[in-house]
């Protein structure tokens, strides 16, 4: 059961952001949850009060996808791109572009699904166009230029006294 439910977040190189998470399910199921629109719409919604009313996925090399999220104020955000690699049920590579755009250029997302003992490790690698773009993403409110995982920070913080006046 080790690592189930534990998410790690790293910036292993200048242009990358890497998220990993272990799920207690065989990868066939996890892969479906990632690639069937009616399933994706049920979990990839971000904040509690947001929905994903539009989810289109043409799952083949060269095929396009489009996700539209809607907030309680009616504001919408779109993510779209094209699949570069589709290997069922283990690997997806797709370009990604947001509208409204909050970072320059296209990112390339690689998602891998690795099963061991009935559990599946999902690794999402976000490859940015350049270090500048990645740093832009990191500064934009999605994440920061942290060259170490949450776990390391947690460990360090756990050994500190409670700060005063926070």
């Amino acid at each position: 059961m080790r690592n189930i439910g534990k998410m790690t977040l790293d910036t292993p190189s200048d242009r990358e952001i890497v998220l990993t998470r272990v799920f207690d399910a065989p990868r066939q199921l996890v892969f479906e949850a990632y690639t069937k629109p009616e399933l994706l719409q049920r979990w990839l919604t971000g904040r509690q009060d947001h929905t994903m009313p539009i989810c289109e996925i043409d799952l083949r090399v060269g095929g396009a996808y489009r996700y539209v999220w809607r907030g309680p104020d009616g504001m919408e955000m779109t993510s779209k791109g094209v699949f570069r690699e589709v290997i069922l049920p283990e690997r997806l590579v797709a370009t990604e572009r947001f509208e409204p755009s909050w970072y320059e250029g296209e990112g390339v997302n690689t998602t891998t699904f690795v099963e061991q003992d009935g559990k599946t490790t999902v690794t999402l690698t976000i490859q940015c166009a350049s270090k500048e773009v990645r740093d832009g993403i990191l500064k934009s409110g999605m994440e920061r230029g942290v060259a170490f995982s949450f776990d390391q920070l947690e460990e360090m913080l756990a050994s500190l006294p409670e700060p005063k006046g926070l």
Partner: protein, 134 residues
């Protein structure tokens, strides 16, 4: 607004300072108590000037402070900027965790409905169900 900008600059400084493994190790050491430059240099196989350089970065980022009076000028860790950085990361983590927790429940549902084949999963589930029902 001003405050927010300040916080953002502080976060940049914090994360920039934390991006180096030696500086993280120094912080980890200081988390267990104050230490002089000499004491800090020992485990790292680095010269005192090299360590001092890292200490200056940490000091500028507000992550450590140094006593002015005592002769050995021991370094102390400052917990507050680290806690701020953690609170910031925590929000990002919560965003993804919320997604992944929904995915956890969805996967449980898929497993119990046998939405997709993996036969061993289905049989095991059915066996469990039967056992629980007595």
């Amino acid at each position: 607004m001003d405050l927010q900008f300040q916080t953002s600059q502080q976060l940049d400084a914090t994360f920039a300072a934390l991006a180096d493994p030696t500086r993280r190790a120094i912080l980890a050491r200081l988390a267990s108590g104050e230490a002089s430059v000499k004491e800090l240099a020992e485990p790292f196989d680095m010269s005192q000037p090299a360590i001092s350089k890292h200490l200056r970065v940490l000091e500028r980022a507000g992550l450590i402070s140094r006593s002015r009076d005592a002769q050995r000028r021991p370094c102390h860790i400052e917990a507050r900027p680290l806690a701020e950085a953690n609170r910031w990361l925590e929000r990002y983590r919560q965003f993804w965790e919320a997604n992944f927790q929904r995915l956890d429940s969805l996967l449980e549902e898929m497993k119990s409905h046998g939405t997709v084949s993996p036969q061993n999963v289905r049989t095991r589930k059915q066996r469990n169900t039967r056992r629980h029902k007595r």
